[in-house]
Amino acid sequence: MRPQIILRYLGLILLFNAFFLLISTLVSAATGGGAFFSLLFSTVVSVLFGLFPLVFVPPSDDITNREGLYIVVCCWLLSCLAGALPFVLWGGEFTFTNAWFESVSGYTTTGASILTSVEALPPGLLFWRAATHWMGGVGIIIFVLAILPAMGGAYLVLYRNEMSTLAQESLQYRTRKTLKILLYVYIGLTFMETLLLIAEGMGPLDAVAHAFATIATGGFSTKNTSIAYYSSPVIEITVIAFMFLSAVNFGLLFQCVTGHPGDLLKSPVFRYYTASLVIGVILVAVNLHGSIYPGWIDAWRHAAFQVIAQGTSTGFASADSAVWPPFAQLVIIFLMIQGGCAGSTSGGMKADRLILFWKVVRRRMVKLRHPKAVVVIRAGQSVVDDDVAETVLTFILLYLLVLFVSTLAITLFGVDLLTAFSGTTAAMGGVGPGFGTVGSMANYGHMPGAVKWILTLDMLVGRLEIFGLILFFTITRWK
């Protein structure tokens, strides 16, 4: 392994971060609020550290799988560290642990916050917080590869580690083209939502921050009460629509807008994902009617918003779902574990894997009745081989295992079971708010420091789809 190559890529990532830090610095200079020097110093440090490896290390196209994996994992960790810098320098509620939590939550597009008052942050830092979502959402690696030409074969190796195998298959494009598609869809959606939110009465900075958080399925808001602050059904509908779209496979969305709208409806993953959210909304709305909201309109409105916000792993809030009945909470927890579609920015296990899981279960049932039957599993038109099916089952098992172990570890620190379990689910699934004391109108600030570190690890494990992090710590020789 060549550490210098890894350092070169880390330098590129730092420069990419520095670009957004510079924009945040300019926002701070224009709006005031006191974070100017924190952001400026962070920009300077990131630029200097980013430039240095580029001066020494010549570009290289051929990187090995192992180097690719190290680059991906180190880039996430370094970005999170660089992202924490402005928070640490600014101070206030940000101790190092809190700053690290906020930064990891931003880059992994989780959206869980430690802040008791978001509105106390200066505009420059609010923009930076939203920018960490946007950068994390697109996948820092993918973005840098897409905008930096002349890397040739390096694309594929990095991409394999960044996106799940399922996402690569369903996109049906070669890597370079896929990266472009992701970018077009991502930027296009961000622009559209920003313009719509401004037209609906949101301030420009708030609109950009909320669009960043929505398209990345993050959930950081610029207001203490999240979207509930605006108390505007029009804004809620817009945000619902974009949260839903952001959790759909971007390749399908691209095909849809480039003249193949039928592909979207033909996709079994999209149909399953949509149906699960619709059923979730119906179940929760019926449960809320009478028990929490006397009228049907409020029950539908808040059920739709919360189910889609948490089911797509975004995590915005229009109401305090922590006080909702246990049935509604469990429906939402199931959707939080499920997540959106592969090939999107959403978290969770991904709907694609659950479909395959149900197909494997069905095949086992058929085989129990007809032991000699040959039953193949299909994903769309293609046959899924047993290796992929086994990987999916292993992934689901590991996901649940990590969920259980983390919950267990968190309860050790005196946190109640609902808070521990929903908090871990929200962290691993990239959702943000859970239930109990970490509900949609609460925050993670009161959690013990060790719990915050466990949750940040969960966020990274979820974002790197478990296998990435396991391989990072276990492989010694891998060509």
Binding site: L7, F37, L40, F41, V45, P53, F56, L89, G91
Partner: protein
């Protein structure tokens, strides 16, 4: 890129980072200076003025009680002196309006004080032939309470601002220290990375070059020197290779 530039860039980056850390710390220290000035000039002066006004009001109250006890001379003396003190303190508060809502608070003090003044003038004159005790309980004392409340409000307003500024100062102190800490950690990490690059791109090629020359001289092995970058070391390697190949100056070789 040549080696001189690479090494120079390393030191330059280190210098820029330390300079930036120093600059940010100086800027934050400067902000602390302004905050302290604000603390002293803006809030503390108003708080002291409010306290003096309250003392003056207490003295006026004593004067009124003396008047009630028929001690007119001492009573008037005390009232006039306290009135002068109050006016001085009030003038200071009026000249030092710095907070949002402070002007309204100062105006409220003025209005309440004018009513209080009117009430003790009436009290002394025993106006409308009313009982002095009743006059004191119904007019003088309530109006005195009103002025005290208005002065207390002004004091609280400035006290809260003083507290907020002090909390802000605590944060600013942290912001002054943090760039230094970050710069120290960054400098250590940077030094390690710099050292790694120097080893990889300077020391290691020189060692390879030395080994190749030694092997060639001792064992007559062919001179094959591999360099990754185009810099002074790669040019030195080429020069040595040329020297080994041709064994002397090209011109003398041609002439012979």
């Amino acid at each position: 890129m040549n080696l001189r530039f690479k090494i120079l860039s390393g030191f330059l980056i280190l210098a820029v980072m330390l300079f930036a850390a120093g600059l940010v710390s100086i800027a934050e220290l400067n902000r602390i200076r302004y905050s302290v000035r604000g603390l002293l000039e803006e809030n503390y002066i108003s708080i002291v003025a409010a306290r003096d006004m309250r003392d003056a009001l207490e003295e006026q109250h004593s004067g009124i009680l003396m008047l009630a006890l028929k001690d007119r001379e001492d009573g008037w003396q005390s009232l006039e002196k306290a009135h002068g003190d109050f006016q001085q303190a009030f003038a200071r508060a009026r000249e030092n309006i710095t907070l949002p809502g402070e002007r309204e608070s100062v105006d409220a003090v003025e209005t309440a004080y004018l009513l209080f003044r009117a009430s003790w003038s009436n009290f002394e004159a025993g106006s409308r032939g009313r009982d002095k005790k009743l006059l004191y309980l119904e007019e003088v004392y309530p109006s005195l309470q009103n002025v005290t409340t208005a002065v207390n409000h002004l004091m609280t307003l400035n006290g809260n601002a003083l507290h907020d500024t002090a909390v802000g100062l605590q944060n600013q102190a942290g912001r002054t220290i943090m760039p230094g800490i970050v710069a120290i950690i960054a400098a250590i990490v940077f030094t390690l990375v710099f050292n790694f690059f120097i080893n990889l791109y300077v020391i290691a090629p020189i060692r390879r070059l030395t080994r190749a020359v030694t092997s060639h001289v001792r064992d007559g092995e062919p001179m094959i020197i591999r360099t990754e970058s185009r810099d002074e070391i790669s040019r030195l390697a080429e020069a040595i290779q040329e020297l080994v190949l041709y064994g002397g100056p090209k011109n003398s070789r041609k002439s012979s």
